[in-house]
């Protein structure tokens, strides 16, 4: 056997071993979601069993899945869209027209992330009551937007920074005006970076649990809240818990897998090197 073939086999085995170990908890949960409660705690653990959809039906009886899922989707997409609209001009200006204070402003923006959410929960809760935004989608969208904004600005800034100066220089030599540069060069070149930033922000807001547990309830609760209501079951309800878990992560996981190439391509900055 040629050494290169041997290494290919070793790498294939290692690569798959790592993949299976990392994905195993998700796989195991997905299996439990289709088990009966008795099968879920059986010893030895069951790999083969008669699947049932009972758990999903019962979950949907306890929490309105569609309503929670819709809230999750609305919050993740709206907050991300607005955050990108606010962040992109700022990141553009700092990357291409830096001033002496740009570094300080960037550090300051990031420092707002160093306010632990627990620390400012009380005032924000009171403000939400005062503004009539407690347990509304708008309230949660605003909070998620503000929580993600610094990271979005940072990511966009670093992507814009990677746009090679020579290309801009060349276009200037050819007489392109700043607006033309923006439309014909920067936006096409930065698009993958913006897309991957947006994907990351959507994933982060989907998974955000602290704020949604504390400031939302029946009207605007997301899937993260729905699952939290299953977190302290009296007795053992592992199969139902697994069904609820699977239902709450499935949409974002499928979304993440479908957009995975874009996410990665955005990070590599495509063909521009």
């Amino acid at each position: 056997m040629r050494p290169s073939t041997r290494w290919l086999i070793v790498r294939t085995i290692l690569g798959w071993l790592v993949a299976l170990v990392m994905a195993f908890p998700v796989f195991w949960m997905a299996l439990a979601a289709f088990k009966t409660e008795l099968d879920a705690i059986a010893s030895p653990p069951l790999l083969f069993f008669t699947p049932t959809l009972e758990n999903f039906a019962e979950m949907n009886e306890r929490v309105d899945y569609i309503a929670h899922a819709w809230n999750s989707i609305a919050v993740a997409f709206f907050s991300t869209a607005v955050a990108i609209l606010v962040a992109a001009p700022a990141a553009y200006s700092m990357a291409f027209h830096p001033t002496r204070r740009t570094k300080d402003i960037l550090l300051w923006m990031l420092s707002t992330k160093f306010m632990p959410a627990v620390g400012v929960l009380v005032p924000i809760y009171l403000i939400l009551i005062w503004a009539g935004l407690l347990d509304t989608r708008t309230g949660l969208i605003i909070i998620t937007l503000m929580a993600n904004l610094p990271l979005i600005i940072w990511m966009l800034y670093s992507y814009f920074k990677e746009v090679p100066g020579e290309i801009l220089e060349a276009s200037r030599m050819d007489g392109a005006k700043p607006l033309q540069q923006l439309v014909h060069l920067l936006i096409p070149m930065a698009a993958p970076g913006v897309a991957s930033t947006a994907l990351l922000a959507i994933i982060l807001s989907w998974n955000e649990s602290f704020w949604c547990i504390n400031v939302t309830a029946v009207n605007s609760g997301t899937l993260a809240l729905a699952i939290a209501s299953f977190s302290n079951p009296e007795g053992f309800f592992w199969a139902k818990l697994s069904a609820a878990s699977l239902a709450s992560i499935a949409p974002i996981m499928v979304f993440g897998w479908l957009t995975q190439r874009q996410l990665v391509r955005g990070l590599t900055f495509g063909a521009v090197k």
């Binding site: 990392m22 653990p45 990031l110 005032p123 878990s245």
Partner: protein
């Protein structure tokens, strides 16, 4: 000579172009982001500071201004040093675990092998799982001392099952957090590796560098900047770990897995002590900024 006619533009033209560049006013572009963040930072901060000097418990009549009482109560708590220590321990342990495995996995997945695309999908799966769900799955289905899968595995080898959350609670929490974040690190480092100059690696190999020399002198330096980014982002998230603790150990046993956010939650918010929670919030902000000052600033400078 044709080139000369083209290349250095006449001084007047160049200055005109610079003026045009300077005319791009940056403040209208910056204003929305800066304004929003300023409000988001100052209003809660001022309110938290205000409440931290108030004797304000939702269960009893307000006592008004109580000076430093809330802070004295907080800072004289004998459990506080351990809580601060736990917070830093979670950050350091989870950082080293995720970055260590992240580098290894990224190098592995950078090489071609059979079915790499599908394997990569499986590896990044944990990143899409929300913290409450992953904590619940690890706690119940895997680490449970009686019905968990790990317990069954050790019993089949004739070893007494480990009661993870009673005997090694901190390790259990770090394992869960690391599982959630390794995919993120792997993805970022993998992406960075794909922009590594293959000619450079090839040249090193021609010059007789083995795989280890290549890794330490070419790959690792290339990963310096993305690792700095990862350290910075992860520090922010690890300082405020909350859901994983709430769902699994509830801070215990004793204070063994209580970090600062969870301490504020359990000591003050659960007791409806708005004043105490606010003092704790200010304390948490101070600690986070000390970490930020020593740790993140030096990294952010390199960016």
């Amino acid at each position: 000579m044709k080139i000369e006619a083209h290349s250095p533009p006449p001084p007047g033209v160049q200055r005109g172009w610079l003026k045009q560049q300077r005319r791009v006013r940056t403040w209208p572009l910056m204003a929305p982001a800066v304004g929003l963040l300023l409000v988001w930072m100052i209003v809660p901060l001022v309110l938290t500071l205000w409440y931290s000097f108030q004797g304000y418990n939702l269960l009893s009549p307000p006592q008004g201004f109580v000076g430093l009482d809330n802070y004295v109560y907080l800072l004289t708590d004998p459990g506080l040093p351990q809580v601060v220590w736990n917070t830093l321990a979670i950050v350091v342990l989870a950082l080293s675990t995720t970055i260590g495995f992240g580098i290894l996995f990224a190098v592995l997945y950078d090489q071609p092998f059979l079915g790499r695309g599908v394997a990569r999908l499986l590896v990044i799966a944990p990143f899409f799982v929300m913290p409450t769900v992953s904590a619940l799955v690890w706690k119940n289905l895997l680490m449970h001392p009686v019905y968990g899968l790990f317990a069954w595995v050790s019993r089949s080898f004739g070893i007494a099952p480990i009661d993870w959350f009673a005997d090694h609670p901190m390790m259990a929490i770090v394992i869960i957090i690391s599982w959630e974040w390794i995919p993120f690190v792997t993805l970022i480092l993998l992406t960075s590796l794909q922009s590594l100059d293959r000619d450079q690696v090839e040249a090193a190999r021609m010059d007789g560098a083995g795989p280890f020399a290549t890794f330490f002198f070419i790959t690792l330096p290339h990963l310096g900047r993305p690792i700095a980014v990862v350290v910075m982002l992860e520090t922010i998230f690890f300082l405020s770990v909350y859901a994983e603790i709430l769902v699994t150990t509830v801070g215990g046993p004793g204070l063994e897995t209580t970090n600062i956010p969870f301490y504020i939650y359990s000591r003050a918010l659960l007791a409806y002590d708005v004043g105490g929670a606010s003092a704790g919030g200010i304390f948490a902000i101070v600690i986070a900024n000390i970490v930020a000052f020593f740790f993140v600033r030096s990294i952010a400078r390199q960016l």
